[in-house]
Symmetry: C2
Subunit: 697 residues, 2 copies
Amino acid sequence: MSNQLEYFFKPASVALIGASSNPSKLSHGILINMLQSGYQGKVYPVNPGSKEIAGLTCYPDIESLPGPVDLGVVVLPAPRVLESLKACGQKGFKNIIIISGGFKEVGPEGAELERLCLEVAKQFKMRLIGPNCVGAMDLYSGLNTTFIKGLPDKGGISLVSQSGAVSGAIVDLICGKGIGISHLVSLGNEADVTETDVIEYLSEVPESSVIACYVEAIREGQRFIDVCRQVSRNKPIVLLKAGQTNAGARAVSSHTGSLAGSLAAYQAAIKQSGVIMVQTASELINVAQAFASQPLLKGNRVVVITNAGGPAALASDSLAQHAIQLADLSDSTRQNLRSRLTPAAQIANPVDMLGGAEPAEYGFAVEQCLLDDQVDAVLAIHVPTSVVNPDEIARAIGEAAIKYQKPVLACIMGEYSVGNSRSVLQGFNVPCFQYPDQMGVILGAMYNYTQIKNKTAQPPLVNPAQTARPLSEIGIGDHKKELGEAHIRPLLAAYDFPLIRAEIAHDESEVSSIAAGFASPIVMKIVSPDVLHKSDAGGIRLNIQSPTAAIQAYHEIINNIKNNLPSARIEGVIMEPMAPRGQEVIIGMKRDPQFGPLIMFGLGGIYVELFGDVAFRVAPITREDAFEMVRETKAGKLLAGMRGHKPADIEAVVDCLLKLARISLDYPEIEEIEINPLLVLDAGQGVLALDARAIKK
Amino acid sequence: MSNQLEYFFKPASVALIGASSNPSKLSHGILINMLQSGYQGKVYPVNPGSKEIAGLTCYPDIESLPGPVDLGVVVLPAPRVLESLKACGQKGFKNIIIISGGFKEVGPEGAELERLCLEVAKQFKMRLIGPNCVGAMDLYSGLNTTFIKGLPDKGGISLVSQSGAVSGAIVDLICGKGIGISHLVSLGNEADVTETDVIEYLSEVPESSVIACYVEAIREGQRFIDVCRQVSRNKPIVLLKAGQTNAGARAVSSHTGSLAGSLAAYQAAIKQSGVIMVQTASELINVAQAFASQPLLKGNRVVVITNAGGPAALASDSLAQHAIQLADLSDSTRQNLRSRLTPAAQIANPVDMLGGAEPAEYGFAVEQCLLDDQVDAVLAIHVPTSVVNPDEIARAIGEAAIKYQKPVLACIMGEYSVGNSRSVLQGFNVPCFQYPDQMGVILGAMYNYTQIKNKTAQPPLVNPAQTARPLSEIGIGDHKKELGEAHIRPLLAAYDFPLIRAEIAHDESEVSSIAAGFASPIVMKIVSPDVLHKSDAGGIRLNIQSPTAAIQAYHEIINNIKNNLPSARIEGVIMEPMAPRGQEVIIGMKRDPQFGPLIMFGLGGIYVELFGDVAFRVAPITREDAFEMVRETKAGKLLAGMRGHKPADIEAVVDCLLKLARISLDYPEIEEIEINPLLVLDAGQGVLALDARAIKK
């Protein structure tokens, strides 16, 4: 097998170590599930206390198993797991799933036990899922190592979950509803195999058409981004992240004992890796279902076809809230609809065929709209009435849908009298949802994925020609941890940041002669490794008009600093021309413990604090990532030219973001940088870094 | 009967006019529903073609009915409705429900027919529901005039819907799930009876414990606010509004033919009337269910009790997103939980009893938490496992819940294996939901309602002592439609708005002498009925330091206006001192066609445009409304004192909002006013109106 993970899903043989003959035990339930899920390989129960369980020969120990076994499923009490792992290794097992709890999640002793298990697994080159998990299902090989009640239908959704309970609950929610699963993996404590490993494996599995993840903490931040960026170009990945609020993050960390990492970093990583984020478990199921059953949505023009105005209005709101447009029907489509639908029907979008709409009308309308070049998808809404059989409506929609390669989604708003209609639709591969107000999230996610796929494949920022020189070589020596503008300028200059012209004066005469050399009014700022907030300390003077005024400003600044921060070391003042007119923004970098350098863009000041208008990405970033950062903020709208203002030089901002990302990779010793303000001039005129600061490790 | 609407719900007799003996007809379905829903009054089918339908004597016409009838339900084709209405009136009917469509919704002819029907109803003092509706249910009297398939359980939720389809779909969604309904009213075209009428009626009906509304357009804006403000103090009103986006609003108006009204006005009206707004149909059902079954939530401190960490983390996120806190358990509660729960349980909040949690543990934990004074409500989450019977878990939760007067909500995340647990819980009046991420909206709505009830009852703005004088009397004569600062100042002064000192100069010598009288620097602005955007036209000069500079500024302004707007009439310039430091905000008023004067507060400029940071209320407003306007914006946070800034004078802003509301009521001829900027000084220092403009009708 090309990928060792395949032994978790399609092993030729499985040993259940700790199988019980007692039907009230989980390990008995696992054995029964294994036997009843259609698995064709060999199953070996292992337990010294039984000769036979559920009709199978039971082996007293691992040593006595008849030959090597691909997969071991361990359900022993925690203290006995380690020895059994060694035995598995010696027997030549390929992979192990440890179902048992009692490891990292219970405290330091458990964590040590878990570490030892991983060591043994590595020694014998076995991969490990768990511990503390419900294991795995492969609906195609029939392998089922879980104790989950119920077996979902076979289909295209692969479910990867850091919570066994959530994966079990999802199975319970979808069982018998025709929502098809290919794989289910519960990862537990992730001693070895992580969500990233499984996503990488599933990307190559043809039965898997969409990967749906429930995640609490992503362990290998950078690798997750790299892998998902690749995988998402070929297969949609949909993700629900728990712990998005402080309360949720606390709940996650008390549950998993793992560091939650900053939400900004998570959101950034998920965006740039092409993963589609959802906010609720039902959205996860709904969106995955749409991807698993429908062709790609080419554009965002959707037609709503309905037998009732109210639900169509709710759907229209929901679509609009997720950037989906109501398509303009072509004239010929309108004419065709007019000719066949009931005369009182509203031939607009929504197409409202009124309460009495019959199956033939549904079929005709769906088909006509699918034929229209101005339509990318059809949403057929039906509210059950006492006069029409909803199964026939479902069949008519399904029969029209399968003829064309455009997405068709159905929404039958009801349950009690809907009967069999959902299965009828699913027989035609048309997913059926219950609430019209759910449809925006679903179609929005589909359109989002189209945009992800359509992105030009950009390598994430190649190394520039120049090789990074040590900080000391570019004049940044043994300053304090905090670096002010004067100290950080050489580094920015080395990366060709457009810096405002600046000269440093150390005394009155230098101030005077430098001032004489400037044509325009001057800005003067203190240079001191001990003054980080120059303005608060009285260390800035603006609009200095002459050498005389410059000398006066110099003394004022020096006096202010001496009075306000008596212990500050004063190195001089930095003198710059007054900046031209432009839009001030902030760019910055801060390291996240989980994901690495987090690149930031925003308007700064109260805009970030009051409105949270700021975008993040994890370095390395692509040019497209940098553009998206600008576009997703309100600051970006301002730069693009609002209210008749000229557009500003967004290209130049993007260049700076890429350079900043480069610096963050080249100099791991730099913990934080902020260029604030970065002045953005009119399009084509570039940017100017007016001030900057940094923090070294 | 004290309220005539009662004849719609508890009539002693009903005539079904247009009853059919053909089981495939809607009117036959209505008759069957009427007979099978437990109604004890007399039912008279009317149809000249039948002698008997469904075992009842059928009457050939209205005249031949044996005596007066309380309620007529009309299912005749539209052209025959009017004559039958006259016959009903003559026979002494109290009320009429017109199920038939073919009225306003089909165009002008239908609208005229509808108008005539209303005229006849008024002539005979009959109230009218419909036309184009599915009628009404009263689960307590057993009256059911609808053709909806299925009868919901009897309970406390009253459903009022402008869409028959939505009300039918909701019945279909909840039927058999133990979600109890008291009334269902489908309002159709609302020729006469509106949602406001029904809400007013239901407020007095003891069986109704919560009013759940689906609304597309509110017809009597001001009355809706007045009625709901009263009703919501005693009974929660939950509302779903379709048409919240442009696309949704278009769908609504093509569906109902009614003007949607501005969304800002809707949102404002709903907030100030104490109505709880939800965003989806499932939220409407869930929130109503919680209100119908649970006591009031006294505070926002909730305990999550669970057998699985993942779902609890999703719940925690959801609660935090709706301002619900995870309660800090008292030490004694922690000790008690520690003593009885499984040793590995997490005794925090969430209380995680782990996968094997048994019914007794659930019961104990719920009870202990309910006993804790630091806990306002309990959310019990359960994920089905193969080892515990969920029905017993449900029973344990229910038995603990009924002992205490605090809300208990349950979430069983599953369906396939959940079996009977929901009904078990509902037997104890504990509502049971499916997804933990739904819980924030539900508990948030409950807490929101507590705050609504706790508000001190304020009369909405009494008339001030002064009587409004005609505009002409206060110096606002026959100017153009647009009134500039100089023109509107007398009106603002009449309402004691704090205005910056200002004098108007008409020539160079007046400019000079006025300037001499100002101590501080001066601002000068053009006065012209034709210049509304003074700054764009070069009509403003700031920071004028002397009488000489003032004369120069005067000529510059006059020249600018002559050059930029040659036809503008120039009345002079207005001279004011430079304003002190403060925070600039905007307050304004604009009339909404549906609701009346809409009062506005915000930071203005790009804050409104980019960030939508603006609050609205419909006048008349209470002092509390005005405070809420400030508090709900980011601007309000700024005024309250962010980042160590001093708090600004919010009381004075509130005074101005109330005065503006007063003006809007006193002068209906004023279409729009904007005070921009209103300068807010430090707390206790007041505000200053620096500029203003208005538009007359």
